[in-house]
């Protein structure tokens, strides 16, 4: 119970932190209003979400085969693809590809967070820059992400100003305008993209038939991080694979819509390294984009989880983050209610993927089982059902 006690202390400290509630209550209000508006503007999304649920139900049991199929297509197009059975295997592959003393620019990736890839690369002696603004802030703060889409959701702008003053060696008073802070981050990171040896990313969805990675974003950092450096390494959880390119478009659209965007600014589709045949029709790699393109498909407990009749639902999660805005506990504690992933999906992940039963129990018993997450979820993931099943699994050991 000692880990539970420490966790409870952390939860209560968060619940007593007014910054979290202020930031979250603003975020919840705007999430609900934006999503409402986006769904009214594109009403077909609700039906499409049902279709995507069916796509995921079909894809999850065969994700291993889909990963192999995608890997073959990627290799045919001069990319390199890897299947990592475990988190350790994925880290070994990355170690071999990266080595040390390299400059790396990184897009936000939950799968990367799951295996602590940034910390791993830093330990190897690499210089790693998170380029997503929220992720950049929490990297510099040394704090874990507090939301899957908005990792720095708990940090008010006064604190960002203080942090940037330290990091950039330039004074930003507490009342610095947000636009000035955003411009400062842009300025600070600008040359890193072009000096970087390697760009790293995840993917929101991958089509197995074409080996295409879909990356949804608004800032443009993923475009730069995966386009400017000579090498692109993508780490993808196997649950992100769907059979066809058509399926992937549907998954992508539903994901961003429930992530409160009517239309995101950028969706990058990447299927291979940069190439040209413009001089004498001789195919040459590394034209303007990366010469080397590596994709790692990681299992790490996912295929085992896919065999569980109830808990497999967690693999349908699109990471839109909608459920978190509906969770009364999350509104008070943010990402402290979770591990790498949050709330009910986070509890299942802790138990089945990262395999930390004590942590899983702590998260599982923090759930109210109130079920409002399910009402929001485009995949109709039944939070209370997963949580009670997980409690049974933890209490009865099966």
């Amino acid at each position: 119970m000692s880990e539970f006690k420490a966790y409870k202390k952390k939860i209560m400290a968060a619940a007593n932190d007014d910054r979290i509630h202020t930031a979250l209550s603003r975020a919840i209000k705007s999430y609900r209003a934006n999503t409402d508006k986006a769904l009214k503007k594109f009403p077909h999304t609700v039906k499409m979400a049902e279709e995507v649920r069916q796509i995921k139900e079909k894809a999850i049991p065969q994700m291993e085969a889909l990963a192999k199929q995608a890997a073959e297509v990627i290799e045919e197009h001069n990319g390199k693809a890897y299947i990592a059975r475990t988190a350790e295997e994925a880290l070994t592959i990355i170690t071999d590809l990266v080595g040390s003393d390299r400059l790396i620019v990184k897009g936000k990736s939950m799968t990367g967070e799951e295996i602590h890839v940034r910390e791993h690369l830093e330990k190897l002696g690499n210089e790693v820059y998170e380029t997503d603004l929220g992720e950049f802030i929490i990297q510099k703060l040394g704090s874990p992400p507090m939301h899957i889409l908005s990792p720095a959701i708990h940090v008010p702008h006064e604190e960002v100003a203080r942090l940037f003053s330290q990091v950039m060696g330039k004074d930003f008073p507490p009342d610095t305008e947000i636009t000035t802070l955003v411009a400062a981050a842009r300025e600070f990171l600008r040359d890193k993209y072009f000096r970087a040896d390697i760009g790293m990313s995840g993917a929101n969805v991958v089509s197995a038939d074409t080996g295409t990675l879909f990356m949804i974003e608004n800032e443009g950092n993923v475009r730069l991080a995966t386009g400017a450096p000579p090498v692109h390494i993508a780490l993808v959880g196997m649950e992100k694979l769907v059979p066809t390119l058509g399926d992937a478009f549907k998954v992508a659209e539903v994901t961003w819509r429930y992530a409160n965007y009517d239309i995101p600014s950028y969706v990058s589709l990447v299927s291979g390294p940069s190439k040209t045949g413009d001089i004498e029709k001789v195919t040459t790699y590394g034209a303007h984009g990366p010469r080397d393109f590596h994709v790692i498909f990681m299992d790490a407990g996912r295929t085992e989880l896919a065999r569980h009749p109830v808990l497999r639902q967690a693999l349908y999660c699109l990471r839109c983050g909608g459920c978190l805005y509906e969770c009364p506990v999350f509104a008070m504690t943010a990402g402290h209610f979770g591990d790498s992933y949050f709330a009910s999906v986070g509890a299942v992940w802790a138990a089945m993927v990262t395999g930390d039963r004590e942590k899983a129990a702590a998260i599982a018993y923090t759930c109210l089982t109130c079920g409002r997450c399910k009402v929001r979820c485009p995949m109709q993931i039944d939070g209370p059902e997963m949580i009670t099943e997980l409690r049974k699994f933890l209490a009865e050991g099966e």
């Binding site: 119970m1 539970f4 006690k5 409870k8 939860i11 209560m12 619940a15 609900r32 509906e326 009364p328 506990v329 509104a331 008070m332 504690t333 039963r357 004590e358 129990a361 599982a364 018993y365 923090t366 759930c367 109210l368 089982t369 109130c370 079920g371 409002r372 399910k374 009402v375 209370p384 949580i387 009670t388 997980l390 409690r391 049974k392 699994f393 933890l394 209490a395 009865e396 050991g397």
Partner: protein
Amino acid sequence: MNSHTRDLIPPGLTYLADNIITRQNILGASAEAGSRWAKDLELPKSADTIFFAGCGYQYSSQLESLMSLVRTMDKSVIGTELPMRLAGLFRKLGVDPAGIYHRLFSRSRDADTRPLRDAVTVLRRLGLEFGYLAEAEPCCGASLYFTGLRQEFSRNARQTYETLKSFGVKRIIGIVPSCTYALRDLFPQCIDGYDLEVRHFTEVVAEHSSSMELKFPRDVRVAYHDPCQLGRFLGIIDEPRKVLKAIKGITLMDTRWTSGQWATCCGGGGGFEAVFPALSQVLSVNRARELAETGAEIVVTQCPGCIMQLETGLKEAGFDGIEVLDLAQIVAMSLEG
């Protein structure tokens, strides 16, 4: 079950679970105390249709006293786990801790069991014939299910089913949402050939609400709080609103984002208040504010847990003037009007 597997369950929940297993009620109190509210109502014990009162209301005064003690402890240095363990020890020694707490923090028990008496009055006014098992009423064991003790839950469910059958029960009218949910949706999952027809009090009343003359004694603005298990789990969302709208003098104030299937939990869901008493109170204050912002003078709900949470939340948030009433009370008051 070995002790190792229980290590992962927070002690507050194992305390409640042990009470169900050994005493057939969530607090480990005596069954005679639980059924006292119905002493003068002369409800038959053997009947086709029974009213299932559940632990929540019958033991709510004890539960409230226990929780207020636990909350105080949770905020202090002692922590909640110790008192929960002590309580378990008391129970093993045959001491009735809930009874002790009840005497310590005594309040009128009439107020707590009032929804049950009112529900009986309303159902009788509808011309329904039904019984009540009184001290023989078994515990549905829903807490076992939500704690994760599925085997214990299944065993308890089969035992409960046998008890109900032995009294000739065919139909059940439930009033506590979690008991009704367990009896209607969870029992069939672990009992072959489960044949009890289970309905909630509000469904029965809603069916007849148009034919009833209902008038509340005064004009009031009312906000309705959907209990999670009644609304989202059992899907009973329109019925309570239909009943409230049928009552003259009542103006229903629904919140925009947070009612019906989107209703915010009171903070007491799934045994949460026993594991995180202090945080549970914070959540009750949040919900109380949402309801108070509608301008309501009365908050109506129908779950003993929600009532306790919302009363605490409204008081803590400084809305002492807003009353929390059970739907059964509101309907009973409107019959008299």
